[in-house]
C-alpha cells in the first residue's frame, strides 16, 4: 500500500505517494528527479548520497522515505542560492578538489555542515568530518585544502 508523504526539499514542498520500502535516496532521485544526490553503494558505505535532513547529514540510501515525512531536506541542488555559489562550492572549483564529480555533491554537503557547526576546524577535524564520503579520484589532498581555505576566509570576513 502506498503512503502519502510530505517532504520539504530545498525549500519547496512535495507530496508523493510511495511504497513504504522506498529509500529517501530513490524518492529524491526517481520521484522528484533530483539526481544530484548520487547512488554509489546503497549500503551507507560511500557517502555519495549525503543530504542534510533537519540539519543533520545522513546517507539518504539508509533512510526510509516514509520516515522523512514532514521533514526538511537540503540536497546539492539547493546549495547555490539565487545563482550564487556557496563558498564551499567555489573553493572546490578553485582548488581543483573536483575530478569525476561523483562524490562532490555529498562532499560539499558534509563540508558545509561541518563549517556550520565548527567554523574553524583543524585539518584532522576536516578529515574526520568527511571520512564518510569516499573519493577514488583525488587522494583527498585538494578537498581538504579547499575546506580549510573556506574556514580561513570565513574567519577573515565573518558572515554578516
Amino acid at each position: 500500500m502506498k503512503h502519502l508523504i510530505k517532504l520539504t526539499v530545498n525549500g519547496e514542498e512535495y507530496e508523493v505517494a510511495i511504497e513504504p520500502n522506498r529509500s529517501l535516496l530513490d524518492v529524491l532521485r526517481d520521484d522528484l528527479e533530483l539526481t544530484g544526490t548520487k547512488k554509489g553503494c546503497e549500503t551507507g558505505d560511500c557517502g555519495a548520497c549525503t543530504v542534510v535532513l533537519d540539519g543533520k547529514t545522513v546517507n539518504a540510501c539508509l533512510i526510509l522515505a516514509v520516515s522523512a515525512n514532514g521533514k526538511s531536506i537540503l540536497t546539492i541542488e539547493g546549495v547555490a542560492q539565487g545563482g550564487k555559489l556557496h563558498p564551499v562550492q567555489e573553493a572546490f572549483i578553485e582548488h581543483g578538489a573536483i575530478q569525476c564529480g561523483y562524490c562532490t555533491p555529498g562532499m560539499i554537503l558534509s563540508a558545509k555542515s561541518l563549517l556550520e557547526e565548527n567554523p574553524r576546524p583543524t585539518e584532522w577535524e576536516v578529515r574526520e568530518a568527511i571520512a564518510g564520503n569516499l573519493c577514488r579520484c583525488t587522494g583527498y589532498v585538494k578537498i581538504v585544502k579547499a575546506i580549510l581555505a573556506v574556514a580561513e576566509e570565513m574567519a577573515k570576513a565573518p558572515v554578516a
Binding site: T35, G36, Q89, Q99, C100, G132, Y140
Partner: protein
C-alpha cells in the same frame, strides 16, 4: 618556444562549475521516455555447461517486456585484442557472475523478480582457479576455441590447447653470460592480489534500438569507439549501426573502457521495442566487472659488487580470469617492463596471461606496471641492502637516461628519471636521521604508452568566433576537456573560455581509441594541434583575401587576425568565420589525425623493437613510514610522488592526477585485496573491501619534472596512471628500512607485518 598564454597554466577545470552544482548527467542519471529497466541473470557456477534455459515463466510475469539469452546473440564474440567473449553465455559459463540471461521490465523490482523465474540447468565442469595449475598439462581447458579466436598478431601469441591466452618473450643479450660475470645473484618471487577499480559511479547504460535496427547507447564509458566496436562485434552488427554517446562518467580507472552492459541493453531494446537501462549494483560491480591482474613474478638479477646490474631473468604469470578483457596487452606490457627503467645488457623475460575460472582481470590504472614495479623495485632494494649500498645510489647508477639503450633495444628519449629520483628523495629528507621504527623507502616507476592507437579531432570556428572542439576523448575526471581546450586555445590565439568541447558521440565526433593508457594528452592533444593548425590556415587564407594581405604577414591572437606591423588592419575571428560561413565556401572546419607512425612492432621471438611505443613515462615515489611493532600497522608519514610528464599542460590538474593515483597505489600497498574463495569473491562491498578515506590517506606531495618529448604536444607526455605504479615497492622498502622485515606478497597488511616481526624475533633469538 615562444611565450605561451594558455598552455602550462594552472587553470581551473572547465566543468568545475557544472560538477559543483550537480548540473551534469551521469550514466546512472540518464532517462528516456518509455524506458524499461534491465537486470542480468548471472552464473552461480565457475565452470559449467548450460544444458537448457527456460524463460517461459519469466516472460509470463506481468511487467516483463523482454527476456534474452545466448540464443539472441548466437555468434558474435568481442574482446580487446582477442575476441573470446560472448555477451551472454552460450554453451558454457566460465566464471561466477557471467551473464546468462537478461530481462527488461517496467521497473527494477519486476526485472529482479523475473530473474528468479528463469530456470537454467547446468552441468558442472571441474574449474581451475590458480593460474599455475591452469598452465599444467591436463588442466581443465577453459577456452577450447582459443586457436580459432580472432586476435591481433602484434600483441597476441595464444597457445591453443592450453589456458595460456598470451605468451610474450624478451630476449636481449645473453643472460647466462651475464649471470656468469655477476658477483652476486639474487632470486626472489613476489605476488600481488586482485585490486578493484571502485569507481564511485556503478556501470550504467541505456540502449535504444529503432525498428530500422540502428542502436543508440548512452553509457558511462571511457571509450565510445571501443564500446562501439566491441558491441558491434558481440552483436554481429556493422559498427556504424551502433551509435555510442558518452554520458558524464563517475570514475573509470580502466573499468569502463570496454563493452560491459551495452550489448545487453541493445539486445533487450531490440526485443522489447523500448529503451532499456541497466545499472549495476555495487555487488555486481565488485563480482562481475573486472579487477587488476593478480600476479606471480619471479625475478633473478645478477649484479657486480658496486651495484651495476649485468643480467636479469623474469617470469611473470598473470591470472587473467575467464576472458581476455585486456589481459593480452597487460601481459605484453608487463613483459616489456620487466627489466625496469634500467640499463641492463642481458635480459630474458617470459610473461604469461593465463585463463582461470574467475571474474576477468582487466585494465586498471597502471596496467601491469604496479605489479612488475612492485617486484622489480623491491628486489633492487634487497640488492642494495645486501651490498651495503644506498638504495637511491643503486638506482641512480643503473637508471635510464637520455640516449640509454633499453632492454628491448630502443634508444631512449625524454627520460627524466634521475631528476624524479633526486627530487622525491629530497622531498622526504632522504638522508635525515630517523628514530627507531621509522624508515625511508624509494622506488622508480616507468610505463610505456600503448602503440597503434589513433586519435583524431575536428575544430570548427563558429560564426561568433568561438571555437568548437570535437574529439571522442571522454573527460572521466582527469581533466582532459580542459587540457585539450587549453591546447586548442593556445594554437588559435583565443582564451580557454572561447572553446566549447563537444560530447563524445560516435556519430559525430571523430574516431579515438579511448581514455586508456595515459594517452589523451599525447595522442588527442596532437590531433587537436593538427586540427587547430588546419583551421588556422583556413582562417588566415580567408583573412588574407579580406585584408588584401599575404597570409604570411598575418597574425592570429586575442581572437583577431591582424596584419603584422599594422594592428589597425584587423578582423575578428567572428568576422572571418561569418564571411566563410555565408560568403566563401562554407564554415571553417579543421581536421587533425594522429598516429604514432614511427612505432615498430616488437619482434615476436625477442620482444625487440627500435621503438615499441610512442613514449615512456618515468617517475619516483619516496615515502617515510612509521611501523608500530605492537600492532604491525604501517603509518605513512610522508609520500612524495615525482613525475616526468614531458611538460605540464595544466599543473593544477596534473597534481590532482598525481595525488589521486598515489593514493590508489598506497591502497594497493597496504590494504586492498579482492579476496577469492575458489571462484567466489568474498568481500564484494565497500564495507568489506575498504578503500581509503580521508582518515587513512596521508598528505601527498606531488612533484612535476619536465623532460620534454619531441613528439608530444608542447612537449607533453601523459600522466594519468603513473603515480599509482611505484608506491607499493616504496612502502615495502621503507618497511624494511624501519624494522628489517621484507614482505614479498601484497598487500602489506598489519597481520603480515606482525607475523614477519615475530618470525624475525624468533630467528634473532635462535642466532643469539
Amino acid at each position: 618556444m615562444s611565450e605561451l598564454s594558455v598552455v602550462g597554466k594552472a587553470l581551473v577545470r572547465t566543468d568545475g562549475l557544472r560538477k559543483a552544482t550537480a548540473q551534469v548527467t551521469y550514466g546512472v542519471d540518464f532517462k528516456l521516455p518509455g524506458m524499461l529497466y534491465g537486470k542480468l541473470l548471472r552464473s552461480p557456477y565457475p565452470h559449467a555447461r548450460i544444458i537448457s534455459i527456460d524463460t517461459s515463466q519469466a516472460e509470463a510475469l506481468p511487467g516483463v517486456k523482454a527476456v534474452v539469452t545466448g540464443k539472441d546473440s548466437p555468434e558474435g564474440l568481442f574482446g580487446s585484442r582477442i575476441n573470446d567473449q560472448p555477451p551472454l553465455a552460450r554453451e558454457k559459463v566460465r566464471y561466477i557472475g557471467e551473464p546468462v540471461a537478461a530481462v527488461a521490465a517496467v521497473n527494477e523490482a519486476t526485472a529482479e523478480k523475473a530473474l528468479g523465474l528463469i530456470r537454467v540447468e547446468y552441468e558442472e565442469i571441474t574449474p581451475v582457479f590458480d593460474p599455475k595449475e591452469a598452465m599444467r598439462p591436463g588442466a581443465p581447458i577453459i577456452h577450447a576455441d582459443l586457436g580459432k579466436y580472432q586476435a591481433s598478431p602484434i600483441f597476441c601469441h595464444p597457445v591453443p590447447g592450453t589456458n595460456i591466452m598470451n605468451y610474450m618473450k624478451i630476449r636481449h643479450g645473453n643472460v647466462e653470460m651475464g649471470f656468469a660475470q655477476a658477483d652476486f645473484i639474487f632470486e626472489d618471487t613476489f605476488t600481488t592480489p586482485a585490486q578493484h577499480h571502485c569507481c564511485l559511479e556503478p556501470h550504467a547504460a541505456v540502449g535504444q534500438v529503432g525498428l530500422d535496427g540502428k542502436a543508440t547507447v548512452w553509457t558511462s564509458t571511457q571509450g565510445p569507439y571501443k564500446v562501439r566496436t566491441e558491441s558491434a562485434s558481440a552483436l554481429s552488427m556493422p559498427p556504424s549501426r551502433v551509435r555510442v554517446i558518452a554520458t558524464q562518467v563517475g570514475g573509470g580507472f580502466g573499468a569502463k573502457g570496454r563493452a560491459k552492459l551495452e550489448p545487453h541493453c541493445v539486445l533487450l531494446s531490440r526485443k522489447s521495442g523500448r529503451p532499456v537501462k541497466i545499472v549495476l549494483t555495487r555487488h555486481e560491480v565488485f563480482t562481475a566487472t573486472s579487477t587488476r591482474h593478480p600476479s606471480v613474478i619471479r625475478i633473478k638479477t645478477g649484479v657486480k659488487s658496486d651495484g651495476t646490474i649485468l643480467a636479469r631473468e623474469v617470469e611473470v604469470i598473470l591470472d587473467t580470469g575467464a576472458y581476455s578483457e585486456s589481459g593480452e596487452i597487460v601481459c605484453w606490457e608487463i613483459g616489456q617492463g620487466a627489466a625496469g627503467p634500467y640499463q641492463i645488457p642481458n635480459v630474458k623475460v617470459d610473461a604469461y596471461a593465463v585463463y582461470t575460472n574467475k571474474v576477468p582481470a582487466g585494465p586498471m590504472r597502471g596496467f601491469g606496471w604496479p605489479q612488475i614495479m612492485w617486484a622489480s623495485e623491491s628486489q633492487i632494494d634487497i640488492i642494495a641492502h645486501k651490498l651495503g649500498l644506498d638504495p637511491l645510489e643503486v638506482r641512480l647508477r643503473n637508471a635510464l637516461e637520455e640516449g640509454s639503450v633499453s632492454a628491448t633495444g630502443e634508444v631512449m628519449h625524454s627520460v627524466g628519471l634521475k631528476e624524479c629520483l633526486r627530487e622525491a628523495a629530497a622531498a622526504i629528507g632522504w638522508d635525515d636521521q630517523r628514530p627507531p621504527n621509522r624508515g625511508r623507502g624509494i622506488a622508480c616507476l616507468t610505463k610505456m604508452s600503448v602503440p597503434f592507437l589513433p586519435s583524431s579531432a575536428f575544430v570548427k570556428i563558429n560564426e561568433d568566433g568561438r571555437v568548437g572542439l570535437l574529439t571522442s576523448a571522454v573527460d572521466i575526471g582527469q581533466g582532459s576537456d580542459t587540457v585539450l581546450a587549453q591546447i586548442c586555445a593556445e594554437d588559435l590565439g583565443v582564451g580557454l573560455s572561447d572553446i566549447e568541447v563537444a560530447v563524445p558521440d560516435t556519430d559525430t565526433t571523430p574516431p579515438d581509441m579511448g581514455v586508456i593508457a595515459s594517452r589523451i594528452t599525447f595522442h588527442v592533444g596532437n590531433a587537436v594541434r593538427l586540427a587547430a593548425a588546419d583551421a588556422r590556415q583556413q582562417v588566415l587564407a580567408l583573412a588574407a583575401d579580406m585584408l588584401e594581405a599575404s597570409p604570411e604577414d598575418l597574425l592570429l591572437a586575442d581572437g583577431k587576425v591582424f596584419v603584422r606591423g599594422s594592428p589597425d588592419r584587423a578582423l575578428s575571428l567572428a568576422q572571418v568565420s561569418t564571411a566563410a560561413f555565408f560568403q566563401k565556401g562554407g564554415p571553417i572546419l579543421g581536421r587533425g589525425s594522429f598516429l604514432d607512425e614511427d612505432v615498430v612492432p616488437t619482434d615476436p621471438d625477442t620482444g625487440q623493437s627500435p621503438k615499441p611505443c610512442p613514449y615512456w613515462k618515468y617517475g619516483a615515489t619516496a615515502v617515510e613510514v612509521e611501523v608500530d611493532p605492537e600492532t604491525g600497522v604501517i603509518k605513512v608519514l610522508k609520500l612524495a610522488s615525482a613525475h616526468d610528464c614531458g611538460r605540464a599542460i595544466n599543473p593544477l590538474l596534473l597534481n590532482g592526477q598525481i595525488e589521486g593515483g598515489a593514493l590508489t597505489g598506497l591502497a594497493y600497498a597496504l590494504w586492498e585485496e579482492v579476496v577469492f574463495d575458489g571462484g567466489r569473491i568474498t568481500n564484494p562491498s565497500f564495507m568489506e573491501y575498504r578503500i581509503p578515506s580521508t582518515v587513512e590517506a596521508p598528505n601527498i606531495s606531488p612533484i612535476i619534472v619536465e623532460a620534454e618529448h619531441h613528439a608530444g604536444p608542447f612537449g607533453a607526455k601523459g600522466a594519468g596512471e603513473a603515480s599509482t605504479i611505484g608506491v607499493a615497492a616504496a612502502v615495502g622498502n621503507a618497511l624494511f628500512d624501519a624494522v628489517k622485515v621484507r614482505i614479498k606478497d601484497l598487500p602489506l597488511t598489519w597481520e603480515k607485518v606482525l607475523a614477519a616481526l615475530e618470525k624475525k624475533a624468533d630467528d634473532d633469538r635462535k642466532e643469539a
